[in-house]
């Protein structure tokens, strides 16, 4: 297929939405115009559908190498395009840890071989994610890493984080910080509060997340360096980020669909699919997260896609693995809970799920512009469906959203102009 015309669709740009045709040639967006004649090209009829820039998820776990029983780059990539994602950034907590150029190179080559979504590895900040010695950030960048993070294991030593922010900046690499003070977590498994007491499950206080957000803000501010805060879940975190941004601190931040969709009331059933780190919080946190997305304090929505084998969830709540398989439900949940409810515009949603991640990590795509790569997602916003984990192509069926009714079904996902997914 050489030329492809997406016709009659409603195109969502970061700032406006209008009916346009999009002509794709050689993997790039050749032309965007109100009316393009279908001459000498294949036509994808998008009448009644919305056309978005391909979604970008800057926080996923693809589990390869080492945990292929949970997910691998093939299944994770297939899940990504089913979820409308044309680019994903995968966290380094694999086995071996992605803390060197060889593992980065392996992931890049596997991503290319699978050839569905674009797979960008995130390198570890420290060797083995042990928080003791900087990983070879320069070499990992040259091998294709787009950022560094010790996700899953916080960098507990403040000096080490300071050194990481300074050193990574020499290479234009951003540190993505998983904020969690383990001493305050102290074995907790759910949000600490009324519901943890009611369920008799050990709580994780908001402070465990917030003290480290505070530390990263202070470090970034005093060093004049950038930092990115992963999966913000608390009201206090949003407040600190808002104040820091107002002062000009170079901090960006993300949240996930479960933090604006669920409250910790869900733990009362002891359904281990609700177990995630950080934990889902309370009503006032949900409101603060949504407000943070609305006013730009939170830059983007990521999934923290964390597929697990059913055996790792089919146990006591305390023993179950943390994490939600979220890449196939992210768009529908975000559209249904943020846009359908009038809290965000469709354009803001595109910024959160595509434009902002592209800007933060300096990736291609992120908006539909002539000359840009033809990474495109087409969705039917009126189509209503029930989330059913049996439909997931991810190996991870661990979703707390089972049976939830949502709007916005992904119809097509195009990467470099090729249709990689079709509903």
């Amino acid at each position: 297929m050489n030329k492809l015309l997406i016709k009659n669709g409603t195109v969502v740009f970061p700032d406006t939405t209008k009916k346009c045709d999009i002509l794709i040639e050689g993997g790039k967006i050749k032309k965007i115009s109100e009316e393009i004649a279908a001459e000498g090209c294949d036509v994808l009829d998008a009448a009644g559908l919305h056309v978005f820039p391909g979604l970008i998820d800057m926080h996923v776990h693809l589990r390869e190498p080492g945990y292929e029983y949970k997910e691998d780059i093939a299944s994770g990539s297939a899940a990504a395009v089913r979820g409308g994602f044309t680019q994903v950034c995968c966290m380094p907590n694999t086995n071996p840890v992605c803390d060197n150029a060889a593992v980065v190179g392996y992931i890049v080559s596997r991503g290319k071989a699978v050839n569905l979504t674009k797979v960008h590895p995130i390198g570890a900040i420290t060797v083995g994610e042990r928080g003791e010695q900087l990983a070879e950030i320069g070499k990992m960048k040259d091998a294709g890493a787009v950022a560094v993070s010790d996700d899953g294991k916080p960098v507990s030593d403040a000096r080490m984080m300071r050194l990481a922010m300074e050193y990574a900046s020499d290479f234009g690499m951003l540190c993505l910080s998983h904020c969690e003070d383990k001493s305050l977590v102290d074995g907790g498994v759910v949000n600490e509060g009324y519901h943890s007491t009611l369920a008799g499950l050990k709580g994780i206080p908001r402070a465990a997340e917030e003290v480290m957000i505070a530390r990263e803000i202070v470090l970034a501010e005093t060093l004049g360096k950038r930092v990115h805060i992963c999966h913000v879940s608390t009201k206090g975190g949003v407040q600190m980020l808002r104040e820091a941004k107002a002062r000009g601190v170079k901090v960006t931040a993300e949240t996930c669909p479960h933090y604006f969709t669920l409250t910790d009331e869900i733990i009362l059933s002891y359904d281990t699919n609700s177990k995630v780190n950080p934990p889902v919080r309370e009503e006032e946190d949900v409101a603060a997260i949504i407000e943070g997305l609305r006013d730009g304090t939170l830059d983007c929505i990521v999934t923290d896609h964390a597929p697990h084998h059913r055996d790792e969830k089919n146990v006591e709540y305390n023993l179950a693995a943390f994490g939600i398989s979220g890449i196939e439900t992210s768009f529908s949940l975000s559209y249904t809970n943020l846009v359908k409810t009038g809290k965000l515009t469709l354009n803001q949603l595109v910024q959160c799920m595509s434009t902002a991640p592209a800007n933060i990590l300096n990736l291609e795509g992120g908006s539909l512009i002539e000359g840009q790569v033809a990474d495109i997602m087409v969705a039917d916003l009126n189509e209503k469906y029930r989330i059913d984990s049996k439909d997931f192509v991810s190996k991870g069926k661990n979703t707390p959203f089972e049976g939830m009714e949502v709007y916005g079904r992904i119809k097509f996902t195009l990467v470099d102009g090729d249709i990689k997914y079709r509903d």
Partner: protein, 311 residues
């Protein structure tokens, strides 16, 4: 009506609690007549599945089942295939396949009985799960209070000790609130869980406030590992500022009773004088525990679809 399982008192109605207590009255009568070969559960099997050490609760359930004529099997995690890595759910399938009618489970993690209950046909009785609930302990506490006062309505029950980690405190709170008693709690801030006030407890600011006019004074066990975990400095400091001694007990109602789920740390949460005083019901609680568990086992088995066995 009581369902298939007894997982906690949070979801059990006042009527069902009263039914259990009323049934236990008859059971205690039989016990005091030394009738220990009753026909109620003949042909039934009750298994105790304990993932935590326990003397009184496991023994109490086993005797309750035996006195009612049931066959009993005791499994403790240390000697079972759990040590070989079998999951809770697989253990449940195994016990179910062997036609158990009731499984009494104790587990160090909250919600384990609920997860088990979703996977087996046998009735599940929660014998204590982590920091969550211990319904039969609370029921025997209610039984003991009712014997003394006739009703629970209007009683002031003071609970002192490690509230944060106590499944007994929570089951008591849920049941007592439904039955019209007032629950006042006191503990060091490090041993008081968040949101307990929203669950219906009054959190006292001092020992004196907690004890003033109380009809029931309940001490909770202070586990040594809490001190080792740094939640309070030493046992002697705990006793000095948070324990109950004879002098403090005078603040309570003159007809008050002293209770404790056991095992007691003498000289920590309660002094020996308080434990051994005439108004102490700690030993009576143990007898009542057997009667209440007989009632629970009997009612659950009776409720199983027309009284059918697991077959």
């Amino acid at each position: 009506m009581l369902g298939k399982d007894l997982l906690g008192l949070y979801n059990v109605s006042a009527e069902d609690i009263t039914l259990i207590l009323d049934t236990a009255v008859g059971m205690k009568k039989l016990l005091t007549q030394n009738l220990k070969k009753l026909p109620h559960l003949q042909g039934r099997t009750v298994t105790t599945l304990f993932y935590e050490n326990s003397t009184r609760t496991r023994c109490s359930f086993e005797l309750a089942a035996k006195y009612l004529g049931a066959g009993t099997v005791n499994i403790s995690a240390s000697s079972s295939s759990v040590q070989k890595g079998e999951t809770l759910i697989d253990t449940g399938y195994t016990l179910d396949a062997m036609k158990n009618d009731v499984i009494v489970i104790r587990h160090p993690m909250g919600g384990a009985p609920h997860i088990l209950a979703r996977h087996v046909k046998a009735s599940i009785v929660n014998g204590g799960d982590g920091m969550n609930e211990h319904p039969t302990q609370a029921l025997l506490d209610f039984f003991t209070m009712r014997e003394k006062f006739g009703t629970l309505k209007g009683l002031k029950v003071a609970i002192l000790g490690d509230i944060k980690h106590s499944r007994v405190a929570k089951s008591n709170l849920f049941g007592l609130s439904k039955l019209g008693a007032e629950v006042v709690m006191y503990a060091p801030a490090t041993l008081m869980p968040q949101g307990i006030d929203r669950l219906g407890a009054k959190v006292a600011k001092s020992r004196a406030e907690a004890l003033a006019g109380a009809n029931v004074v309940m001490g909770l066990r202070i586990q040594l590992e809490r001190q080792q975990g740094g939640l309070f400095p030493t046992l002697s400091e705990y006793n000095k500022y948070y324990g109950v001694n004879e002098d403090l007990l005078r603040l309570a109602d003159k007809d008050c009773i002293v209770m404790h789920p056991g095992p007691v740390n003498r000289g920590v949460e309660l002094t020996s004088e308080v434990i051994d005083a005439g108004n102490s019901k700690i030993t009576e609680q143990v007898l009542n525990g057997v009667a209440v568990r007989m009632a629970v086992l009997f009612l659950l088995v009776k409720n199983r679809q027309g009284g059918e066995k697991n077959e």
